[in-house]
């Protein structure tokens, strides 16, 4: 099925990216890779501040995610 093929190809491509990125981190000084990583992670938290959720809504959301994670475990 074409859709299944695309999913496989996407996974293969993502794993190749992880390998290539890890290789780049290994050959790059800590100060440089960690500076770039910090830009990415810090922007993620900046965006999270704008999330219009109460802590109760957040807890309900992660509890639901936890339930689906358990059912997807092999």
């Amino acid at each position: 099925m074409e859709l299944a093929f695309d999913k496989q190809a996407n996974r293969k491509e993502r794993l190749a990216f992880v390998r290539a990125y890890a290789a780049w981190v290994k050959r790059t000084p800590d100060a440089e890779w960690s500076r770039q990583q910090a830009e990415l992670i810090d922007s993620f938290f900046e965006n999270a501040r704008n999330m219009p959720l109460t802590s109760r809504e957040y807890i309900e959301r992660v509890a639901g995610r936890g339930r689906s994670k358990k059912t997807s475990r092999r």
Binding site: A31, I41, S55, R74
Partner: protein, 199 residues
């Protein structure tokens, strides 16, 4: 990457701290006088450079007596942390005793947060007993052994978890205890060859 790796210590030369690192270091500064701990799961890969965000950091601690947990609750509250679950100290303790996680964030924020759990089984006990100190800035954070993390992430099996496992393997493949990794993969009933985790 200029890290020095040994069985129980990993040292960075000059890591730029992310806001997530600073959040973790701040929390640990309050937690550690109350109880030893070990950090597990996604943050372990992120600490070593994985290019993704996370909402939460999973921390395991040995089972505390109710009074000791009450002290930890009071200390964290006084230091500007908030428990996101609706329960008070007694209810939170009951959750922990029922093998559930409780979530803790800086007051008026919920991302990032800590998901705190008591050690619950022999795997958790081993992760805690063999925890690895990572020297970061002027502090040490304790994380799960990398071999157990790789096997456990493969066991969890989501795309994100498999990518975390592969990332850790690629970063540490020359330093890992291959026999130990093999034993943990066997214990979790997982194989890594289809993802390039070849041992």
């Amino acid at each position: 990457m200029d890290i020095r790796y040994s069985k129980d210590t990993i040292t960075f030369s000059e890591k730029h701290l992310t806001r997530l690192d600073m959040f973790v270091l701040g929390f640990i500064r309050v937690l550690e006088p109350c109880t030893p701990y070990v950090i597990v799961s996604g943050y372990v890969a992120i600490l070593f450079g994985r290019s993704r965000g996370t909402e939460d950091v999973d921390i395991l601690v040995p089972r505390l007596e109710k009074e000791a947990f009450g002290d930890l609750h009071a200390t964290l509250s006084a230091q500007g942390y908030e428990f996101l679950n609706a329960e008070g100290a007694d209810g939170l303790y009951d959750m922990l005793m029922n093998r559930m996680g409780i979530r803790i964030a800086r007051t008026d924020q919920f991302i990032p947060n800590i998901e705190l759990k008591f050690l619950k089984d022999d795997v958790d006990q081993r992760v805690f007993a063999d925890r690895v100190g990572v020297n970061l800035s002027d502090a040490t954070v304790y994380i799960s052994p990398i071999e157990i993390q790789i096997a456990y992430k493969l066991y969890l099996g989501s795309e994100k978890d498999i990518e975390d496992a592969l990332y850790l393997f690629e970063i540490f493949k020359n330093d890992l205890d291959q026999q130990n990794l093999k034993a943990w993969m066997k214990k979790f009933g997982v194989r890594g060859d289809e993802y390039g985790i070849g041992i």
